[in-house]
Symmetry: D3
Subunit: 338 residues, 6 copies
Amino acid sequence: MPLFRAAIIGGGSIADKNHIPALQQLPDLVDIVAVCSRDLTKARALADKHNIPHAFADAAAMYRQCSPNVVVICTPNSLHHPYTMQALAQGCHVLCEKPPALTATEARDMASLARQNGLTLAYNLQLRQTREWELLMRCKDEGRLGEIYHIKAHFLRRRGIPGWGYFTNKAMQGGGALMDLGVHVLDLALCALDYAAPAQVLGNTYDFIGKAGGRGLMGAWDPKAFEVEDACTAYLSFSNKASIMLSTSFALNTQADKDRNLEIYGSRGGVKLFPFTLHTEVAGELADIHFPYLEQDDIQLKNTIAFLDACQGKPSNVCTAEQGAVLMDVIERTYQSA
Amino acid sequence: MPLFRAAIIGGGSIADKNHIPALQQLPDLVDIVAVCSRDLTKARALADKHNIPHAFADAAAMYRQCSPNVVVICTPNSLHHPYTMQALAQGCHVLCEKPPALTATEARDMASLARQNGLTLAYNLQLRQTREWELLMRCKDEGRLGEIYHIKAHFLRRRGIPGWGYFTNKAMQGGGALMDLGVHVLDLALCALDYAAPAQVLGNTYDFIGKAGGRGLMGAWDPKAFEVEDACTAYLSFSNKASIMLSTSFALNTQADKDRNLEIYGSRGGVKLFPFTLHTEVAGELADIHFPYLEQDDIQLKNTIAFLDACQGKPSNVCTAEQGAVLMDVIERTYQSA
Amino acid sequence: MPLFRAAIIGGGSIADKNHIPALQQLPDLVDIVAVCSRDLTKARALADKHNIPHAFADAAAMYRQCSPNVVVICTPNSLHHPYTMQALAQGCHVLCEKPPALTATEARDMASLARQNGLTLAYNLQLRQTREWELLMRCKDEGRLGEIYHIKAHFLRRRGIPGWGYFTNKAMQGGGALMDLGVHVLDLALCALDYAAPAQVLGNTYDFIGKAGGRGLMGAWDPKAFEVEDACTAYLSFSNKASIMLSTSFALNTQADKDRNLEIYGSRGGVKLFPFTLHTEVAGELADIHFPYLEQDDIQLKNTIAFLDACQGKPSNVCTAEQGAVLMDVIERTYQSA
Amino acid sequence: MPLFRAAIIGGGSIADKNHIPALQQLPDLVDIVAVCSRDLTKARALADKHNIPHAFADAAAMYRQCSPNVVVICTPNSLHHPYTMQALAQGCHVLCEKPPALTATEARDMASLARQNGLTLAYNLQLRQTREWELLMRCKDEGRLGEIYHIKAHFLRRRGIPGWGYFTNKAMQGGGALMDLGVHVLDLALCALDYAAPAQVLGNTYDFIGKAGGRGLMGAWDPKAFEVEDACTAYLSFSNKASIMLSTSFALNTQADKDRNLEIYGSRGGVKLFPFTLHTEVAGELADIHFPYLEQDDIQLKNTIAFLDACQGKPSNVCTAEQGAVLMDVIERTYQSA
Amino acid sequence: MPLFRAAIIGGGSIADKNHIPALQQLPDLVDIVAVCSRDLTKARALADKHNIPHAFADAAAMYRQCSPNVVVICTPNSLHHPYTMQALAQGCHVLCEKPPALTATEARDMASLARQNGLTLAYNLQLRQTREWELLMRCKDEGRLGEIYHIKAHFLRRRGIPGWGYFTNKAMQGGGALMDLGVHVLDLALCALDYAAPAQVLGNTYDFIGKAGGRGLMGAWDPKAFEVEDACTAYLSFSNKASIMLSTSFALNTQADKDRNLEIYGSRGGVKLFPFTLHTEVAGELADIHFPYLEQDDIQLKNTIAFLDACQGKPSNVCTAEQGAVLMDVIERTYQSA
Amino acid sequence: MPLFRAAIIGGGSIADKNHIPALQQLPDLVDIVAVCSRDLTKARALADKHNIPHAFADAAAMYRQCSPNVVVICTPNSLHHPYTMQALAQGCHVLCEKPPALTATEARDMASLARQNGLTLAYNLQLRQTREWELLMRCKDEGRLGEIYHIKAHFLRRRGIPGWGYFTNKAMQGGGALMDLGVHVLDLALCALDYAAPAQVLGNTYDFIGKAGGRGLMGAWDPKAFEVEDACTAYLSFSNKASIMLSTSFALNTQADKDRNLEIYGSRGGVKLFPFTLHTEVAGELADIHFPYLEQDDIQLKNTIAFLDACQGKPSNVCTAEQGAVLMDVIERTYQSA
């Protein structure tokens, strides 16, 4: 019998395409016992599609009847906090979708309760599972980068305001490009600096294109209902003088449709993450090291495994509750600075 | 008889390769009457090479004997202020090499005296004369960019710490990569925002590689005598929420030997400066506009002409004394923030 | 209940792969009620495959039993005229495959009867539905091209004589490369000139390779049964001095396997259609405008919709009966000139 | 003592840069004895520069004093006929710049007189001397092309209206792009068809851009003084059904700055001239034959030698008087058709 | 009723993916009557999957019950000899997987018995069926290569030691890269020289990487169980002074993941096989002939047909028993030389 | 006064373009005192051109009058031995052009006499001075390659039979491509294996193209006077099982005009020399290390310095007399094997 009984909260595409398939590839470790969505029809359809025994609209009923010990939270951002608090109170480990919450306070509460209850709370920031990121951490640990002092992180779309879902709704999502896209590369950048909290944050947000409308590459959006930032830039300065430059956009008049990368500059070597390239000196000459045969993994599956490892007290590189609180703190300070 | 009588102060390569040849292409407008250098041998050699009648070690003697009405200042940075003040006091228009001075106070003094004496003081920031920059300004004026709200500006070298001159000497140069390279792209970025002064500046400077030594691509430098920053990053935030991200380096573990560019993002269009590309919408579709036949001009000659136009009260796009003061203010605040 | 009851005449691949699937994507608008082919076995197989209720060898019987109000004609070219005349006589709108007919006289007859009976007759020239052509027409309407005065249109294959079907049979097809391939780009070129009839036509046809045989890239053909042109070139001159250069081939000793494009030269801008590029002046400089994110549509579906729009009196860019008559006139004059 | 005594008529750049240097590389064969220009100052300057003994404004005087037996004519087009007739009357062989003359009648007169006087008259169409053209003719002679039935020839500039000289003056030049550029590729195309006279010619000329003005890539031109065609397209049809498509422009809204090429289609092989590629079948498969090591020759020198060979009755591939008459006939018929 | 009744011996992937599907595409010619594997479960599963009537663990029983007249041998290399001898003794034609056997003596025995019994024995070296090889042989036959005097043949993998099967087991496979990969290109090279036996062979084998371990690109292997060569290089010299350079590897510190090619140098032309390019002279100039439209065939199917053609006494390019004996002789001499 | 007095023996292009300019860049170290050539006119012209005081036809006279202590030998190969023996007998250090001599015996004699007389004899194999080779040796010394076990070395020309000089004269040069080109890469390959003598050598030489004639890329050669090999291939096997594959040609039906490279395979890393790339593992992944900023040095100057260093007993990487003897031994054994 598997160690874990998992419940899914949230009936959207991220549950359907990412979390349920990942969990179902681990039948020896975990059983999915229920799907829970405020819209019972959606919950039921999802449960049927994936052969999950139970569907609920009411989470409390789900906890009573199904006794899960693991919960995966796939709801709009505004529900991350309440559902996580409830799950932790029910004694469940929690894997929560990103961003951690709407505010730093929420994220700190969630981390406190997890710590207090001796439970694992983790966030689904799967880029940590790419081969590129694993290689970066290995290069860092082997001293190939020396001291890391500057990072450029960006996640840009040219006209990628989603034409579906709640992405432009401020109340439900808490923000736009930074909450949805920037959070991924910001998490990696903070990892590279050992998740220190920045001493200073200065940033700005924009909504020119979102509010003006135009040709979309991810469907058409309604400029009148556009309430979030379509772009955000920020500079983070750390007490050891390290710095991060962050840029993220749903919409920006730039060349590439989609562009996501990090550049990590250290005293002995610098890395461009995609495709992974290490700029350094070898045998006394300037050298560029390429890794032409890095594989593509199923990063959702790997992150799900990393979460379940953490639940079992095994080493894991999943984004922790404490890291999530720092991450939300940076996001919040960026919005405040703007 | 030409309108202007020019004196050159400083006997180094920038006088020899840039300013004297440019002035001598304008014989109907200007005569070079003297070269002045603290090292009289250098002054004399330079004068002989270019058929300039007089050479001096003492500037005061030069003013007495030659009565110039235009002075070009090509000295180490620490001498920009004293020589400019002297020249303005002598009633001369001044074209001063970049950066304007060592501090914002110096630059403001210089601007005050120029204004007070009704003279033209300008700085030799020649990238303004590239066809690309002229086209950018035309696109801006025609409304093709809409409102400009974010600019990325960088001037990076991988291992380009000069192995000659005073570039790593703090007292003479006042700083490193920002003073020597970053100043060019910062000037353009500020131009694009109508030279507003930023509300906030946050930045950092680094010297890991400069102090550690390594393989150089512009000669070999002495890591023990390395006193300036080898890299600098900064974020400028303006009261209208526009922002500039600035990166500059003499040495950085990055791919390209040399990389200099600006990206200028506006509400209606975005531009990458080199090669000039405009990202916008045309006929309802996302469009990239390329200009395959932009010419390469002699930008020093054009900047010298622009300076002389300003001296004559004609319209000119040369960097003014007031702009130079703002520029030094930003540089100084960046160093203070670091 | 759908507005239209459609019958398919002709049981070949174009019915199977293009027209039936397109119509079946529009279930609210149209029902396919019958398939009709001189070979009843083919008709029945096709009907079964697509769940179409009836199959006929005899069109008259089909009209009696099924009362369609729309007919799609997918037969060899020689049958376009008789089947279209019959369908119009039966009060049906007609979407006829290209080329319109064997002769200009046939095409004019067909247009007359359609007009007389108040019915829509249209030809299936789907390249009009590409995003590129829509963008071209929008650029034209916005004045970005100025006056269009010269067009190069080509549709070339290196060794693409089809090794199946009737493509080399003169009696059934009326011609070769011009009838099958050139007709597409000629239609677009004429559209760009508002479908004026040319004042003069001069052209030639060739059959060297078709009659000699050789290595084929679309199967092997029988050189002894090769009765049509393998290549055709022509020049069309219009009363306003505009001109079209047309080249088309089944077989030609050229580089590309397949090469289909139009270049449209106007006084203010010129366009290369695939990939769409606009050559013009922007901000006083020569500029090339690229559209990197044009999508690929299902052009058959769009043309079927355009035809049904026309049937309902809505605006439509489908090739009309009158345009088809001009098109056949140009083709006929080209053959006569050769 | 050299066989030939040459006089140069015309004092412009083509004499200075092309003809005089070529002749002076052949000192064993030819002596330049005089330069003649209506502007005596120009004639004298040119003679001095190249160490030519005599300079004249009056050709008759030149003939009397210098007794040349070879004349090279480098004047504006309108003077080709009178100077050639005079030279032939004086018993001189003539190498005349292209185009042959202003009209077909002039060119026929010139050919008649040459034939009558037993003298060589040739035109300076140097593309015949490229390695590519020599290889084309060799491939043709070896039967690698089979029967040639279609040729596309173009010589296009995007914005190459010369900002100097008489190029836009109708009276002096007789025409624009066709007379100056198209003539080169038309000559080659006719060569490939053994210089048969076409049965029919249909063409058009345009002047939209020339008259409207705009950004120039060969200096700035005056749109108000623009009297010639900026573009010309034509179709030539031959009695054996072969055809030529010709396009030429000083200005056209196309991609390339300059684009000059021929495609020559034969029954066994097709050639793209620059870079030379032969499309054919080898060992039963479709093959493209590239010639990566073709050399670049001094084509003016080779054409001068070819002319002098012809003067000596040796085999020569220079453009003959009779070919020049056919060439002018085609040009004239194109203009008449437009 | 089909001419041939085939039995498959060996139940691995090569039977499943290559031989059975190829035979089943030829139902008019051959029936598969049985699968035989020492592991009866595997045999049965394979038979079921492909609807083959019988499965056996015991080959003798299979011959008794099923009376095949064709046998395909897909076992580990060490069983090629015993199973082939048995099949030939049973009067069956044999298609045996490569390499022919473990030793030259085995291969000669097999050829002797086949000749003696009047049966066809052939080896499955399918690269002979590529369009490239067919074209090479045609070029050779047409004299386009002149006399072939040197061949470079290589089949290299960077880290392609298979992580499955018996590939690193010396007893079962007889060798490593040469037996598994090099054999393919060596067969082609020998073909090009009309399968002459070399006068001298000099070579070496290596196992540095195989025994050291490392990152694999075809799964992970066990360095402790690595018993074969990971790389082999050899030089073959023939009595007519022709030579072959052979290189093959499972693992080598080279650039490409996989690299397989032949260069064949002749007195009149040289060929690089993939992509096929012929370097020669055409019309007196150095020429490279490319064949951009060579198709990809199903080379297993073609080789199976070639084998069955040989069984029927038809012309065939399959690798014969005699050629297989020469091939094994070269392999054995290479190992002895190492 | 400089330490060395140098005499040049041989009046050809290698003296004029390589050795004299290199020596004259080292005026503090060496004076050129005489040029000696059997053709006194050539000697005198060369001396005059380079301001060398004396010219001789008779070497003995030169030694008497000029007392050099360094001799550079630039004669045809057949004179390397006699002139070197004479120079050593005169007490001079000798830098001799490659190849060392005509036979291994000659080279051993030369090495013996140098050793006996305590003089430096070195050969001018300048590829050792490339940055690439220096980096290779550094990588080898740092253990980045592990144990080197296979090397591919080639120096190929497609049609580079020199149309001048004695290159095709067997008596004067001793051989063709191997003596002139292959010797360079063979020297490097032997260096990489610490200049061990091979245990076995197997090779062949060819002259098909040289004797047949054809299109040349380095002038035209006379096929009737072609006495040497136009191509040579060989395999060298060493007692530690390392191996070298060598290919060299003046003429070969291959793609590139000129192609010169080494691939050096070791147990830990492999190198392609031009452009330098190291294939290895980094941080547990397969990695390719590029060195994009390697400089181009004046390799003749560096080799001349290395020779003079050796003369002074300093460390030097110049090719020694002993190495030259091994090199000639390999060349001789290759010719014998062919």
